[in-house]
């Protein structure tokens, strides 16, 4: 008699790409319960969720617009996580970049646009680096756990934004809590006529490319991954672990800062307090869904962009609350993390001689 046995050895390589697919199927099965509760047909709902957004030019472009900050925060989180630095602060670093962009944007009246855009990106990057600096220094110099410090700084910067918008930066014309509009030369150029898609998307794709290059083609990337796999072992192998951690943390912060620039200079043209509905936290979902692999992260960012757009289209078409999109994202994260455990096992038929 032939029997199955589960063994604790790495699964064959062809199983790996199937794991996210399996996770997605489990997720859609679980969330179908909510769709039924909302008195809609799950299959119809998933059509509006996953396929309808891609079927028209307007909404397909909107998927890319939604993906733009996610490419950047996903890349930012991946950069830090790859080196074993658990940066939960991409949300705060994004806001730091947004503040810098809102400030720089008002100073660039009359600049040539290429120079203006460059200065915007630079200032946002630097602001992200600066906001990431205290927890990174505390980690390296005093061994203070970065999970808590980066998380707490996310709340702190929201108070700074609130202070700026209700105080010195309150729009003098309308009185709304939003900063003055940035100069035209500071705005990220549009990529297509009659659509919101802007240069930020290209920057996001470029950053993913750079991430891939650094991680897989440079010695620094090798050091990062060695540090991420085990700090002790990396130290023995001669890697300057502290320096690697610090640099990874700061670059991660800088990339998250770019996401803030992208939203201010590409979409809103003001600083508002709701500039990010949690893009920094979604970046963590994306980095994990992508398995910290740059290509996977890019695909995950586009997929989450699709889910956000799809949530709204389901809501319009079938009256299912748009928060379904948020729930699907979170379930997908948890199920995928669980499913990745499967890659440590393989199932094997026992030969007749082994059975018994």
């Amino acid at each position: 008699m032939r029997r199955l046995r589960i063994e604790r050895t790495p699964a064959p390589l062809w199983v790996r790409p199937l794991i996210p697919v399996l996770a997605a199927l489990i997720t859609f099965t679980l969330t179908a319960v909510l769709i039924v509760l909302a008195k809609a047909n799950p299959l119809e709902a998933y059509f509006y969720f996953l396929i309808a957004p891609l079927s028209s030019r307007v909404s397909a472009i909107e998927v890319l617009v939604k993906s733009t900050p996610l490419l950047l925060t996903g890349a930012a989180v991946t950069f830090a996580f790859s080196a074993g630095y658990w940066n939960i602060g991409a949300e705060g670093q994004l806001y730091a970049g947004a503040i810098a962009a809102a400030w720089m944007g008002t100073l660039l009246e009359g600049f040539p646009q290429p120079l203006g855009v460059l200065l915007m990106l630079l200032s946002g990057f630097i602001a992200g680096v600066l906001w990431a600096l205290p927890p990174a220094l505390l980690k390296v110099k005093l061994a203070v756990d970065e999970v808590v410090t980066t998380l707490l700084l996310n709340s702190v910067i929201l108070f700074i934004v609130s202070y700026l918008l209700n105080g010195p930066w309150r729009d003098p014309v309308s009185g709304w809590p939003q900063s003055p509009e940035i100069a035209a030369s500071a705005m990220l150029p549009k990529l297509l006529p009659r659509a919101r898609l802007h240069l930020g998307f290209v920057i996001g794709v470029l950053v993913i490319g750079v991430l891939w290059f650094v991680l897989s083609r440079t010695t620094f990337g090798l050091k990062m991954r060695a540090t991420g796999l085990g700090m002790q072992a990396a130290r023995f192998a001669g890697v300057k672990v502290d320096r690697t951690l610090l640099l990874s943390a700061l670059i991660s912060g800088g990339i998250a800062g770019l996401a803030g620039v992208s939203e201010v200079a590409g979409i809103h043209f003001h600083l508002i307090d709701a500039i990010s509905p949690g893009y920094g936290y979604t970046g963590i979902i994306i980095a994990m869904l992508g398995g910290l692999n740059p290509l996977g992260v890019g695909v995950a960012a586009l997929f989450i962009g699709l889910l956000s757009t799809g949530g709204q289209s389901v809501s319009r078409a079938l009256g299912v609350p748009a928060y379904l999109g948020d729930v699907v994202q979170a379930v997908l994260l948890l199920v995928t993390l669980g499913a990745f455990i499967l890659q440590n096992y393989r199932i094997r038929w026992l030969k007749a001689s082994e059975a018994g």
Binding site: L151, S155, F159, L334, G338
Partner: protein
């Protein structure tokens, strides 16, 4: 001036109530070696479930009970991910926060749609303990749940430091291998700690929707879960010190609210950011000596 102080102290106790619930909940989890970043979402879930059940049943206490049960289930889910499957604690915790926030908002929309006037209930009334006494009377005029929170502090202290359960809890958080060798069921203890902790966190959320607001809103928790994450470090994982932290934060928060209404030109955000900055400073000072439970963030695997 007297009235001002009396009002300030009374408000301090009110603000500190959900923080005390939440931080005591986080204390159970972290003492067992699990950093539960699901706290923000579990408090949100507690606020929602408490409100929805109270509105449907007409009983506020039934709402609190349902919130606690929901919170315990959420704690068990955290256990499934971080204890049973051994996934990274911060990612699973954040995932739970995102899940429960989305789920609560989804169900809220499903139940009540998008009405012009948000649905409301008649919230808890405050208890007049000593209505005739001048200063003490108004200070002690608090919600029953505030008294529950204050009573929980010595109770949790007793459980953690004076019972066999507490000893096992701390052993599991400090050195799971040794605890296991001594015959403690590490997985069971961590599940229990997360369930109890989740129930307490959700009670904190329910206090906000059922006592303070009488409604459920998008910003009902507004980062209070993260404040609890700060307070637990500030309070050195000790129930009584945690209460002082919650009261200190409550006092600062109540003070800034009052300063705002007096029209004093002062960025009140400074006050609000203070507890976070103080915690980070405290961590920096304690540095390598911070009294983290030694087993925190490390999944336990039994080979």
């Amino acid at each position: 001036m007297g009235d001002f102080l009396v009002g300030l102290i009374a408000a301090t106790l009110r603000v500190a109530t959900p923080l005390t619930f939440g931080t005591l909940g986080e204390l159970f989890a972290e003492r067992a070696g699990i950093l539960n970043l699901g706290i923000e979402g579990i408090m949100f879930l507690g606020a929602f479930v408490g409100f929805a059940v109270a509105k449907a049943s007409g009983s506020l206490w039934l709402g609190v009970l349902a919130a606690v049960v929901a919170g315990m289930l959420a704690g068990l889910l955290m256990g499934l991910l971080s204890v049973r499957l051994g996934l990274s604690q911060h990612v699973s915790g954040l995932g739970i926060t995102l899940l429960l926030t989305g789920l609560s908002l989804f169900c809220f929309r499903l139940l009540y749609g998008e009405p012009r006037i948000p649905p409301a209930i008649t919230p808890f009334e405050r208890l007049s303990v000593l209505p005739q006494v001048p200063i003490l009377g108004p200070i002690l005029e608090q919600y029953a749940l505030t008294y529950v929170a204050l009573a929980l502090v010595p109770l949790v202290w007793w459980v953690v430091y004076r019972t066999n359960f507490g000893l096992q809890l701390r052993a599991v958080g400090e050195n799971p291998e040794a605890a296991d060798a001594a015959g403690v069921d590490v997985f069971l203890m961590r599940y229990l700690a997360l369930a109890i902790g989740g129930g307490l966190m959700a009670a904190g959320g329910a206090f906000l929707s059922l006592a303070q607001l009488g409604a459920f809103t998008y910003g009902v928790i507004a980062g209070r879960g993260w404040v609890c994450i700060a307070l637990i470090i500030f309070g050195n994982w000790h129930p009584v010190k945690v209460l002082w932290g919650a009261l200190l934060f409550g006092g600062v928060f109540a003070l800034q609210l009052r300063l705002q209404t007096t029209g004093l030109q002062m960025p009140y955000e400074t006050f609000l950011a203070l507890p976070y900055l103080v915690t980070i400073a405290a961590l920096a000072i304690a540095g390598r000596n911070a009294a983290y439970p030694a087993g925190l963030l490390k999944p336990y695997k039994r080979e």
